[in-house]
């Protein structure tokens, strides 16, 4: 499968994503420079973490105007698979590809640690290899990761079953103590209504090799691969 990994000048998880998708998972992974206007036949586009354009203003606020993002939007509208991780999630929200907003953490501090996630919807292209309610150990690292949506949007998200992951404790309980950043309803990741665009604050690429302490993040990439194989079979 061809994974195009966007590279904004301030991306800093681009190499991590390339490493996991290429050498670790054996896929054809390559970079897409932000000034390009061609996705080069990518089957899945990855927006990695980082600080796209420095993000002194608001994370992801400038990145949505880049030439490559025009192509990503068209690609998503055609049903192409797009996954935004951390800063990538922020950019997808700013670009209007996902609903809601990401605010500063409620502690007003950057927070880096391993958290637990509960899979809330395992029928997306990104979670179809997960068990319902499966708990994943995946690191977070962000200063602006508090997910917010107004009540109407939130109701819509619920109705469409768009919540992919919620922050939970090791037993899978969702409560305030297991919420690292103040996200509304402990939301850690959502998909769009159509289900082909995922944004998540935690970093699955940091939890894809045993030597780094967790391999729980792999299931997300493996779900994408599985989904693509199914799609080929049904065509």
């Amino acid at each position: 499968m061809r994974f195009g990994i966007l590279q904004f000048p301030g991306s800093n998880c681009d190499q991590d994503c390339l490493h996991v998708l290429g050498p670790v998972l054996g896929q054809d992974a390559f970079y897409l420079w932000h000034k390009e206007d061609d996705l080069r036949q990518a089957d899945c586009v990855v927006l990695p973490g980082g600080f796209s354009y420095g993000d002194y203003l608001r994370c992801g606020a400038i990145a949505r105007f880049s030439p490559i993002m025009r192509e990503v939007k068209k690609f998503a509208e055609r049903g192409g698979l797009v996954i935004g991780i951390c800063n990538g999630f922020q950019i997808l929200v700013e670009a209007g590809l996902l609903p809601g907003a990401l605010l500063r953490n409620r502690t007003l501090k950057f927070r880096c640690e391993t958290v637990h996630l509960r899979v809330e919807n395992n029928r997306t292209p990104f979670t179809n290899m997960c068990q319902p309610g499966q708990i994943l150990r995946v690191p977070i690292a962000h200063g602006e990761g508090s997910y917010f949506a107004d009540p109407q949007t939130l109701a819509e998200i619920q109705k469409n079953n768009q919540v992919a992951f919620r922050y939970c404790n090791e037993k899978g309980q969702i409560n305030d103590a297991s919420n690292p950043n103040g996200s509304v309803e402990n939301i850690a990741g959502i998909v769009n209504a159509r289900g082909n665009v995922l944004g998540m604050m935690p970093h699955p690429e940091r939890a894809s090799e045993g030597i780094l302490g967790s391999e729980d993040g792999r299931v997300i990439f493996e779900s994408i691969l599985h989904w693509a194989r199914q799609a080929v079979l049904t065509h």
Partner: protein, 771 residues
Amino acid sequence: MRKEPEITPQLIEKHGITPEEYERIRSILKREPNFTELGIFSVMWSEHCSYKNSRAELKKFPTTGPGILVKAGDENAGVVDIGDGWAIAFKIESHNHPSAVEPFQGAATGVGGIIRDIFTMGARPVLCMDSLRFGPIDKRDGEKDLSSHVRRNRRLLAGVVAGIAHYGNCIGLPTVGGEICFDESYNGNPLVNVVCLGVLRHDQIRKGRATGVGNPVYYVGAATGRDGLAGAAFASRELTESSHEDRPAVQVGDPFMEKLLLEACLELFAHPEAVVGVQDMGAAGLTCSTCETASRGKSGIEIELDKVPQRETGMTPYETMLSESQERMLIIARKGQEKEVERIFEKWDLHASHIGYVTDDGMMRVKQSGRTVAEIPARPLADEAPVYVREASEPPALPQVDTPCTIFPESADCGQVILKLMADPTIASKNWAYRQYDHQVRNGSCVLPGSDAAVVRLLLDELCGTGTPQVKPGQPVREKYVAITTDCNAIHCRVNPRQGAKMAVAEASRNIVCSGGRPLAASDNLNFGNPNKPESFWHLRECVEGMAEACRFFNTPVTGGNVSLYNESPDGSVDPTPVVCMVGLIEEARLITTQWFKKEGDLVFLLGGMGSGLGGSRYLLERTGKKMGPLPPFDFEAEKRVQEAVAGAIRRGVVCSAHDCSDGGLAVALAECCISNGRLLGASIQLPAVTPRLDDILFNEAPSRVVVSVSPEGRGTLEEACRAAGAPVCEIGRVGGDSLEFLADRRVVAALPVDKLRAAWHDSIASLVEK
């Protein structure tokens, strides 16, 4: 144009230049300097740039060895071989003074500066680390209100940590560990020492040289402003009540700009035909980078200030040359390759300004609007600063504690003391700080902050920069693992600087070994008081000689580092703080070892003996509020035997955990083994016959000791490894249960529930700072 001030004795003195130095300047120039030239000499001959007060001492360090590819002092950072054509570049550097005045930007730009030093060498930076020291952040017993010192120290801590987080997180380098210590002596003068390590192939090493007459000199990065004006000179004098007026000498950092510079430079360096030399503009900015590259290249350099990008109007040559605006690089390109250089920087939306060229007349010539405003022989300016051997005199000895201790009675409840020590901010968990640092970016952090040393995996594909990846799908990437630590117990160095410095090197080496590594090389950050005070200079000399001897013994050459003198506040000088940063190589992933207990039923061993003597210990400070000697004895050969035993046992595959005894002695080391990972595990510890006193056994800080746990089947192998190395070993207990219990003569002398220990240790700093 403004008229330049006249050179008067007052003006010379204000620049920190002595009458003798001024005479030397006149003889170099064969005329009087103008104002700009005076400024240039003042920053280049400041302690920060020239090491004029410490150079004679630094020569005592061992700097060569078979693995050293670039040695200390030759370039921006040393480079060490790690095998198979790979190398690492690493260095520690201080940003103490700026952080005292403006903690956030002071610390942030310190991180920026050290990262530039590393990628200037052609290496891709892969990790950062920090060694920080502040005045106390907790109330003294019996104190009702927070003193103004404590309030200020908390602000400094919060600001420094936020500044490090801001810069490191944005540029995308993991801050993988370090130390944070608190002591009265740092009131008003915190120490902020930052480390960066990068990876490169041998053939990628870049040099800071200007060679080839006519080769173009480029300026890349942020525009020059008046920020950081003469920061190097500022860092080379004492902090006073009015130091806050020096705030313009503190720079403002832009990590995004540095990220662009980093990536663009690494991409440029992949075209060796285009670049001759490269140098970052750190301390003394444009001045230092031009004269140093010319001096190293045995050439000259000429620049035109009108072509230097400026973000403020009306800057004088003096201001432009002395500015320490951040995120700027000087590139010496090869003639004919201008288009290629400019293309790569344009890709990263950076403008490369062609500001001058290399000459062959040995002069650093600065022009403005075609008129020469400074003309100085580069070599004497860069490399021939005066060298001073200062007067040294030993201060009166500190009070001594006897063994067995008779000056105070034994604590009635050693359990309570352990809890108190665990909550001591110097010993307590630093999670409040490192959770603010992205410590996992770059997918290399194998051992996260909180163990003896950080362990980071290096991947070959990291070397590919940002261009086309050289890795094929599914093809495994070659890996190597490095362990890195910073260590210094300043109380030990205050009590006995020579032995304290030896013990700092030994502890760093022991930490590397406990993590499964083989020590390779060290970088040092010497933080001392005013060298003109004979007692301060004596501290410096004792510590340097102690470190030099230890580095020679452990075969870990010093690859560079930094000297920060004048660490004084109105209350006096800081304790001598020679911070050692040591790097080791871990040959295989299976050897990576952490400090925490792993499994119920595992056996606990102490290597190196029980030790004795409370001099220099945290416990003594806690009990008496005093720093007292003597330190427990230290013996190089005994240290080596213990390290060989640990390394041997790890290689034999039986070690489940290894943790060295340091601050707080055996009791604290064992408590940390129980609680420093997410999963809490108790232990039952059988102490040998309690002589002379229980507190002496629990809290002495005798060096060369390691707590190891092995499974019951591993006992024989561990004992065999210890026998082979000749290290004393003693089985002291078993992992398991919900509390850490100490037994003596079959009687429980202290029992601490692990959750209680964990709470005291884990939340201590947050509870003080977040109030």
